[in-house]
Symmetry: C2
Subunit: 349 residues, 2 copies
């Protein structure tokens, strides 16, 4: 700490400037303990006293010091969020949902990014977070991490969003399998002999879920399962893969694992002169707000990200409150098919 003192802050030794409980107590003529009770909305304070304390607080502009409170209580009022990237629509929306729910519960969010989805990175992020003052952690595990081998320091409640399940942490996720099934069945119902799939990257949980469910749906319907093509979530990759699909006349229906890739596919179809949905129907996944205005409007699977976030926070706070570990269950949030112009009946070949 430099020796600079700006003067406006009464020289209170090492004091950090802000008025403390003691200051309020002195002004109100009560003990610090009573101030504490008022600050925490406890009962057992006479109305007159409470009022006196409150006005003293107002007069001094008192703000409780959360570091001190955290030190004394062991609680922080903050939940940590670890996310690999904010450039993915779903991650952002999930974060938004978590932030909203956390705020409603009086918690704030400590956001930590990781630059690469490796065990080491996630463990570092977790460590950094435990060093920070947090009560629990939500990991937006959009990338595949084998949580069984990723040993996190014990004692901190954890919830995974978009995780794969099968381990000891609770998982909250959209019902990816149902979504992929809805998308695929929608295209089959339109008469298409089969459905091609543009999957997300291998290391993505959601991509895996959607891929698997797409295949199972085709198998269940007794349809041929075409070769899967992989993208990386970007419209660029969808465009690349779409170019390949556009050259194959037998392709009449494409289910892309997200809206961006679907956009790229549609563009490739346009460029190849194949009409959407006349020649080729396209369905996406996520239902971004823009998707309704693609040309043509994109049929997609709508996820309820707000509910996802809410659920993450609920489960986490429950763990924090009870100090009990939550079982490693997977909580699925329903999804919904939204039909727009990009998917239409099969015209035969």
């Amino acid at each position: 700490m430099t020796a600079v003192d700006d003067g406006s802050r009464a020289g209170r030794g090492r004091g950090h400037g802000a008025p403390s409980m003691a200051d309020v107590a002195r002004l109100a003529g009560v003990s610090p303990q009573t101030v504490s009770r008022v600050a925490n909305n406890r009962t057992n304070v006479e109305d007159a006293t409470r009022e006196r304390v409150l006005s003293a607080m107002r007069a001094l502009g008192y703000q409780p010091n959360s570091a001190a409170r955290a030190l004394a209580t062991g609680r922080f009022g903050t939940i940590g969020v670890i996310s690999f990237t904010l450039s993915r629509y779903g991650n952002v929306r999930t974060l938004d949902g978590i932030a909203t729910a956390a705020r409603a519960a009086g918690f704030s969010i400590n956001l930590v990014g990781v630059t690469a989805p490796t065990h080491q990175e996630f463990r570092d992020a977790f460590t950094r977070l435990s060093t920070q003052a947090i009560d629990g952690v939500v990991i937006i595990e959009s990338e595949v991490l084998d949580m069984r081998t990723l040993r996190l320091p014990p004692g901190v409640p954890v919830v995974l969003s978009d995780g794969y399940g099968g381990h000891s942490y609770p998982v909250v996720d959209s019902d990816q399998a149902a979504g992929a099934r809805l998308a695929t069945e929608h295209l089959l119902d339109l008469g298409h002999p089969t459905v091609w799939h543009v999957a997300g990257p291998h290391d993505s949980n959601s991509a895996r879920h959607r891929h698997t469910s797409w295949r199972q749906t085709l198998e269940r319907a007794g349809r041929p399962v075409p070769q899967v093509l992989f993208g990386d979530w970007t419209a660029d990759s969808g465009h690349l893969v779409g170019g390949y699909l556009a050259r194959r006349p037998e392709v009449s229906a494409v289910f892309a694992a997200n809206d961006q890739m679907a956009l790229g596919v549609m563009r490739a179809m346009h460029e190849a002169g194949r009409a959407v949905p006349g020649d080729v129907s396209v369905v996406g996944f996520d239902d971004m707000p823009e998707s309704a205005h693609f040309w043509p409007g994109l049929t997609s699977i709508r996820q309820d990200f707000d509910r996802n976030g809410q659920l993450c926070v609920d489960i986490l706070l429950e763990q924090i409150r009870t100090r009990a570990e939550a079982p490693g269950e997977t909580h699925l949030v329903p999804v919904e098919l939204v039909v727009r112009g990009s998917s239409g009946p099969w015209r035969g070949r």
Copy 2:
């Protein structure tokens, strides 16, 4: 606090479970102060001692308690970010840039959302944040707040991102005016007699900047200034306004204040049978990754959000380090015109 004790944590009175400096000190046979020096990478510790302490830390799985450190030092290693919404592309990218830069500087992010862009909401968010443990605040002021009347509690360093300037806080922003000028001039250079504008909402700073600069550019070029149409950033609103523009044959060039609205405009043009760019050229702003794959690919203005975030953090940390207020300057980050298929030469009428 419940009476539950999970046993694995040695009964250490009110201790919150985690090993403390005292534990490490005991194990390493040194004083807590020496442990502190090692934990903070201070000099004046013999190598052998340092090694002994480090291995004791490892053995116990010691993590410094940031609440205690913050209480003792008055510093928190955290910067607060206030953002109105995460559903706007620019806000998210800015947040991402801030998070990345903060992390590189060893700071973490405390994210607070506000549900409505009112003074009251922002002040509440600020208060909530000061109650939390933070060293400074970045306000993503995408909505117009009159910062001169929004009196924030003094003593906390503040930087505004996307702000309007003209007050005592430093502002970091993309060079909105240059972007709108580039977009407008690009369309004029293509031969269009004038350029129509779909502006963002009235309460948005960026929208105001872009709107003003568009008008000035037309005036400087001696072109007629058509009536402005207002959207709300969504593709929906762009579509609505686009329907109106599509019906007016004299409209040959449209500059939309963001890519989503441009998307809606293009869709409306398609629906009305007006070719883009044959009949109407469209230019957006933001250059989202998807925009290259709209149909046609969207000409747009690319912003460097990462640099924006970096700059916010740099300026904030400088204030924190020197404990001096930064001047209320506006720092502009350059933007770039990206030309794609949606804008083409005027065909005459």
